[in-house]
Amino acid sequence: MSRPAPSPFYTLRGAGGPLNTLHFSCHGGDSPLLFSGSGKGAIHIWNLNTRRTEKIVEGHAGSSVIWVSTLQATDTLISQGRDMQVCLWDLSESRSEVVDSVWTGSVGFCQCSMLETSPRNYLLAFAGQQSEEIKIIELPSKTPVCTLVPDAKLGMVMCIKLWQPDSGPGPLLLAGYEDGSVLLWDVTQRSKLSQAKAHPEPVMCLTFDTKRLRGISGSSEKKLSSWIVDRQNNLQIQECVTLVNPGVSQLCIRGDGKLLASAGWDHRVRVFGWKKLRPLACFSTTLTWCKALLSLTTRTPKKDCWLLDPRTSGSACGQYTTRGLTLAEL
């Protein structure tokens, strides 16, 4: 990396608190939106054309928002807060009201995972009241689908990822546990398909590329560990990437499956080529400790990717553009 790291393309200010989570939403004609959940319970909706807050919705009774997402089809926002609630918001026609909420009972930091099964229905997976259990319900009917509890003692659920394989009939779920294992669950069978010990330390984050059936997970150590799900739905640990500093809080693969970004405890965002896990760039925020958050999108034509990280004051997310990097071979 001979070139100096690029400076942020723009800094969104004024969130008024540390940010925990980010989510991009780029519907066809509208200007792209960015949702951010703050530690003070506010969800800011940023218009990325004007780069200003379009709307601020407050829920979760002031406790921090740890996950936000939107549904493709409708103007529905889903947010998870540390008040053990998952709220569904109706944002259509400039409304902003909670239409429904689900009590999770989880006191951990495990973020939910959502899978849209049909235009109307979608599955939501979340950590349950018991530290190891994962609950899956169908929304908006709130019908419980299943509860997944591992046989062995694996500790708390740290991160989950719900996905729909092309071949299989039902959705599958990837879950990382406190003891460092990653488990693959079959949701319809309610059974464990396979298990792999990816890390000696708790799995802090994982992400999965459903096209290549390849995933990667990070922990509190210096390594990123990548693994694949083979045809028999077995998890196989593949190569590792060693980082300079320990601790990874978030991983994210760009929509086109070319870039992987990791957010480290060392306030750095590292970008890798997803295919060969070759390091490409490292963005430093220089200023603060940060629990870096990532969200990548390919939908904005001019910027190849957006990486975001908050500051202590939480008032900012920097957008970095990787345009200046040699991304040709990706």
């Binding site: 400076s7 942020p8 723009y10 800094t11 200010r13 004024g14 054309n49 004007t50 780069r51 200003r52 220089t286 200023l287 500051r311 004051s313 008032s315 900012a316």
Partner: protein
């Protein structure tokens, strides 16, 4: 009165008999006879050809001289006039059918004679009336009279007859009349107007399009003989050659009348143009260009009547050409674009050579063409040659003169920004005018700008912006002009300041007006180019003067002037003093080419800044979304040191805020502070590439208010961290930011209560005025005495408690509150952070920086004064460094440090008093005492030494310090003792003055004590007690002879105790 047919036959027969041969009559009788004749003719009709013919030839005979029938007779003017009237009346009275007999080929010789007579009269006569009458007759003869009487309306065939007959006389008439028109300038305008009328009507009659197009073979009877040779056949060849000759005449006429002083003449010229263009635009061929040029040139006539007529004419012309067949419209457009092209070609030459009047005319013509072309402009511009030609012409004409030295010299210092922000919209004192190489008249610039706007209004916005952007990029020679043109084109495209004649028509005509979206795209592309790195970050300050200037900037303001501007600055040894404003001359001598370049850069920036304002005007509120990229750039320039640039930027900011609908600059900045701060924070991290970021922050702070604070907090942290990371290189830059920040904070949060300022400062010298109340004095004294003895100490809150040490006050807070300290308001926590940095920077090796830091520190103290618990600990930490500045630094720093100390004295007097009296006063007074004998003995060279400057600085600061701190008596005595030697007249004069100032302050603290002290030294008068019982006063200064101190002591006594001294003096004298 209607002409009744019954009487007319009678009267005509009457004429018949009486007029048989008037030629033989005496001239006098002839005149007598003419009068009733006119009357009769005016009221009757001539029905018979014989009468008409007879009268016509008789009257002609009357006019011509008997010897030479071709020349007018040498008769009296009255007679000629009467004959002409009569002729006129005859033409009016003739019946249509017989009138046309005049134009039969047989009549040619007679008609020719009459016409040449009339022309001769019109040309040669001295009397205007005769001239006019002769010309009127000519008009009436061709049935073109424009008087109010009834006229015969000829049928097309009849017109054709007249036309073909008159064709024979056309050369004669046109040359002669043209001579009249272009003849004597002093002849009355009526003659000229009439002549123009005759010219235009005759030409229009002969070369009428409809007649020529009909072009039926005119039958020529062979029996005419010689007369047949006179006949002219209007063949195309003939027309062509005639038009060639006519164009020469026309050129003469136009050049003579287009700038005629009288508006009626110019109006008539417009009429001529209009008439000819409407009647015979096709047959006139090459003349059309000339006519159009003249018409177009009158579009911007100074007289509104001419202008209006011309506009009507032009509109008719353009409509006629659009409505009628495509081929003719094509030719018309061709003519126009041809004219435009040739004018554009010759424009640079004309602009170089001709005078302002002519230039203005030429440009008006240019503008007129564009206006006449209207929407066709875009068609014309599609031709590469035309566009190229026009743009080159504009580039050359608009070349700026960049030789003015003052532009580079002028600097805007921070204070000037401040004041301009305070006064809001009061525009900068002067907007610098642009100086052009080829013209000086402001009107010319206006026309040029209007040309650009009109081009933008009608032309294709994409084509134009692309083309001029190309020129802009091509060469630095064209850059400024191209930018100017671009600015106006975009304004014009938005329809701003474009003179739209006849709104209704216009809106239809301009069908393809660019949408707001088109405009925005164009603006974005131009603005990107303007604000790109290479076009925006231009050097406007020559490097070597930069440091000088900064020094000067630091040194000049406020009280330091007294030191730096004294007479010793030229031979200054330790190079602290700056020779003011001398760098201008050095820079000019060093390299004028670079100066040239700098000037050019400055103008380019100004034009680009104006451009951004223009774009904002063009887009209106839509410009708001572009503020994201543009506002930072403009603010960057508003912080520039070059006066012209910063003024232009401020002006631009005002225009932008107006265009975007913000009520003032403050709102503009506040509502877009997120955009600005983002750029600032990004650029702060790469300061080496973007050194302007702090400047932008400075501008923001000066123009905004406290609502900015929440967002700024973040940035200030950035600044401080960036400062921490690189103290060596960037401290100076950041210090100015911190200075601006603290200034802004001090303005936004004025310290609510100056606790000690009121109590510490004794009432000014008003004591003199007060009636001395002895009773009160005695009571007070008794109370003091009792206090001293310890009586009543309980109820009085004494000064024993004085001030708690800083550590204690923190403890108190900790005890009182919970473990967590209450969060400070943001501005105070920022101030605290800044002050922390100041502690380190106070001992920076660079003097400039130290001075700046002292200024910042002073402001910090002001802001923080409202929270003593925060202030005192940090002052405690600052103290050692400050003491160093006060006691062992450069004189400039000493003085500045004194100011800080005084501010500190105001805000935390008690806290400081003991420290000052313990740590500072002894050192200062001892050094003063030590130096006093040296300076008293020293020669003139001494004033150049550092020791001297230090003495001055200390003496200048000491007085106010003592006063502010409310020092104890012992300290005052010490100060007094140290300063007394400086009252000696042997000291350098400035030391004496400074010492006087110390005493003035001291006297305000304790007038009585120092009155006594001074009198002890020298007492000018003896005091005789009013009552013998009282002891006589003995002062040691009494009766002393004049010594070294007496002058200054007397001066002080007179100034400070003036009235007392006089009243005391009186009984003595």
């Amino acid at each position: 009165m209607p002409r009744c047919s019954s009487s007319k036959s009678m009267s005509s027969s009457l004429f018949d008999s009486s007029l048989k041969s008037p030629g033989q009559r005496k001239k006098k009788r002839c005149r007598l006879w003419l009068r009733p004749c006119v009357h009769v003719l005016e009221n009757t009709c001539v029905q018979s050809w014989e009468t008409l013919h007879g009268l016509f030839s008789e009257l002609c005979l009357c006019l011509c001289s008997p010897a030479d029938p071709g020349k007018p007779a040498d008769t009296s003017e009255e007679l000629k006039l009467a004959v002409l009237r009569c002729l006129d009346a005859l033409f009016h009275a003739a019946y249509g059918d017989i009138f046309f007999k005049l134009f039969e080929p047989v009549m040619l010789p007679g008609l020719g004679a009459a016409i040449s007579l009339l022309l001769a009269l019109g040309e040669k006569e001295k009397s205007r009336d005769i001239q006019v009458a002769a010309l009127m007759c000519l008009q009436a003869l061709t049935l073109q009279c424009d008087c109010t009487q009834d006229h015969v309306v000829p049928s097309p065939e009849e017109r054709c007859t007249i036309g073909s007959t008159m064709a024979s006389f056309l050369p004669g008439i046109t040359t002669a009349v043209a001579r009249i028109i272009t003849g004597d300038l002093r002849q009355g305008h009526t003659v000229t107007v009439r002549a123009i009328k005759v010219w235009s009507r005759t030409v229009a009659l002969v070369l009428d399009d409809t007649q020529l197009q009909a072009s039926k073979p005119e039958k020529t009877s062979s029996d005419l003989g010689r007369i047949g040779q006179l006949m002219v056949r209007r063949t195309p060849d003939w027309v062509k050659s005639t038009v060639g000759k006519l164009s020469v005449l026309l050129k003469k006429i136009i050049s003579c009348t287009s700038a005629h002083q009288h508006w009626k003449v110019r109006l008539e010229l417009v009429e001529l143009d209009d008439h000819l263009l409407s009647r015979c635009s096709q047959s006139l061929g090459e003349c059309v260009g000339l006519l159009l040029e003249a018409l177009v040139g009158a579009v911007n006539d100074e007289d509104p009547r001419v202008r209006e007529r011309c506009e009507v004419a032009l509109r008719e012309v353009s409509q006629r050409n659009q409505s009628c067949g495509s081929s003719s419209a094509q030719t018309f457009t061709d003519v126009l674009s041809e004219n435009l092209h040739s004018l554009a070609t010759s424009l640079p030459r004309l602009m170089r050579t001709s005078d302002d009047q002519k230039k203005l005319f030429v440009l008006n013509v240019f503008l007129g063409y564009i206006k006449v072309l209207g929407p066709l402009v875009s068609v014309v511009l599609n031709s590469g040659a035309h566009l190229e030609r026009i743009s080159r012409a504009l580039m050359q004409v608009l070349e700026l003169d960049v030789m003015d030295v003052r532009i580079v010299e002028e600097r805007s210092y921070a204070p000037s920004i401040e004041t301009s922000s305070g006064s809001g919209y009061s525009d900068g004192a002067h907007i610098q005018r642009k100086h052009f190489l080829y013209f000086t008249d402001e009107k010319i610039l206006c026309v040029l700008m209007e040309i650009c706007r009109t081009l933008g209004y009608y032309g294709n916005i994409y084509l134009l912006t692309d083309h001029f952007l190309d020129l802009y990029q091509q060469s630095s020679v064209y850059r400024k002009q191209a930018a100017m043109v671009l600015n106006e084109i975009i304004r014009g495209a938005a329809g701003i300041a474009v003179a739209t004649e006849g709104q209704g028509v216009e809106s239809q005509v301009r069908g393809h007006s660019p949408t707001q979206e088109d405009l925005k795209v164009a603006v974005v592309s131009v603005m990107e180019e303007y604000t790109s790195l290479k076009n925006w970050h231009l050097i406007t300050v020559s490097e070597e003067t930069d440091i000088d200037r900064q020094d000067q900037q630091l040194l000049t303001p406020s009280r330091l002037l007294s030191i730096s501007n004294s007479n010793f600055s030229s031979t200054n040894a330790n190079s602290l003093q700056v020779i003011p404003s001398s760098f201008a001359s050095t820079s000019t001598s060093s390299s004028s080419s670079t100066l040239h370049q700098l000037n050019s850069n400055i103008w380019q920036l100004c034009i680009q800044l104006e451009g951004i304002a223009c774009f904002a005007q063009a887009l209106g509120r839509d410009f708001r979304s572009l503020l994201m990229t543009s506002l930072y750039a403009v603010l960057e320039k508003a912080g520039e040191e070059t006066l012209l640039v910063s003024q232009a930027a401020l002006g631009s900011m005002r225009d932008i805020s107006k265009a975007c609908g913000y009520p003032s600059l403050k709102e503009l900045i506040n509502e877009n502070s997120d955009y600005l701060l983002n750029d600032i924070s990004v650029n702060l991290q790469r300061l080496s590439q973007h050194p302007q970021a702090p400047r932008v922050l400075t501008v923001m702070l000066t123009h905004s208010d406290s609502s900015l604070l929440s967002l700024v907090g973040d940035i200030v942290q950035d600044v401080l961290i960036a400062l921490d990371l690189s103290y060596d290189h960037t401290a100076a830059l950041f210090c100015s930011v911190l200075h601006a920040l603290m200034k802004a904070l001090a303005r936004w949060f004025p310290p609510s209560c100056r606790r000690t300022s009121e109590s510490a400062r004794p009432k000014q010298t008003s004591t003199q005025k007060e009636v001395f109340n002895i009773r009160q004095f005695l009571l007070d004294q008794r109370k003091q005495k009792e206090l001293a003895e310890g009586i009543g100490i309980e109820e009085d809150d004494s000064e024993d408690l004085e001030f708690p040490p800083p550590t204690e006050c923190e403890d108190v807070e900790d005890l009182g509150g919970p473990d967590v300290k209450a969060e400070l308001p943001p501005h105070l926590s920022i101030t605290k952070d800044v002050m922390e940095r100041c502690i380190h920077l106070l001992s920076d090796p660079s003097l400039r920086l130290r001075l700046k830091v002292l200024d910042v520190l002073e402001l910090c103290v002001c802001v923080l004064s409202e929270k003593e618990n925060e202030l005192l600990p940090i002052v405690h930490r600052c103290w050692p460094a400050l003491v160093q500045r006060l006691t062992a630094d450069d004189p400039l720093a000493v003085l500045r440090a004194f100011r800080v100390l005084c501010t500190l004295g105001e805000t935390c007097g008690d806290f400081l008093r003991r420290r000052v009296s313990k740590e500072i006063l002894p050192k200062l007074s001892s050094s003063l005492t030590r130096q006093a004998p040296i300076s008293a003995k020293a020669g003139p060279v001494y004033t150049h030494t550092l020791a001297y400057k230090l003495q001055v600085a200390v003496l200048q600061g000491l007085g106010s310090l003592c006063q502010r701190l409310d020092l104890a008596e012992a300290d005052l005595d010490a100060v007094c003792e140290a300063c007394l030697p400086y009252l000696s007249c042997r000291q350098p004069i400035r030391l004496q003055e400074a010492s006087q100032s110390v005493f003035r302050h001291l006297i305000q603290v304790d007038p009585d004590a120092f009155w006594f002290t001074l009198n002890e030294l020298h007492c000018p008068s003896s005091y005789i007690p009013p009552h013998p019982d009282l002891h006589p006063i003995q002062l040691s200064g009494m009766g002393r002879p004049r010594d070294e101190y007496s002058d200054n002591v007397l001066k002080l006594l007179r100034e400070e105790f003036g009235s007392v001294a006089e009243t005391v003096d009186q009984p003595v004298s």
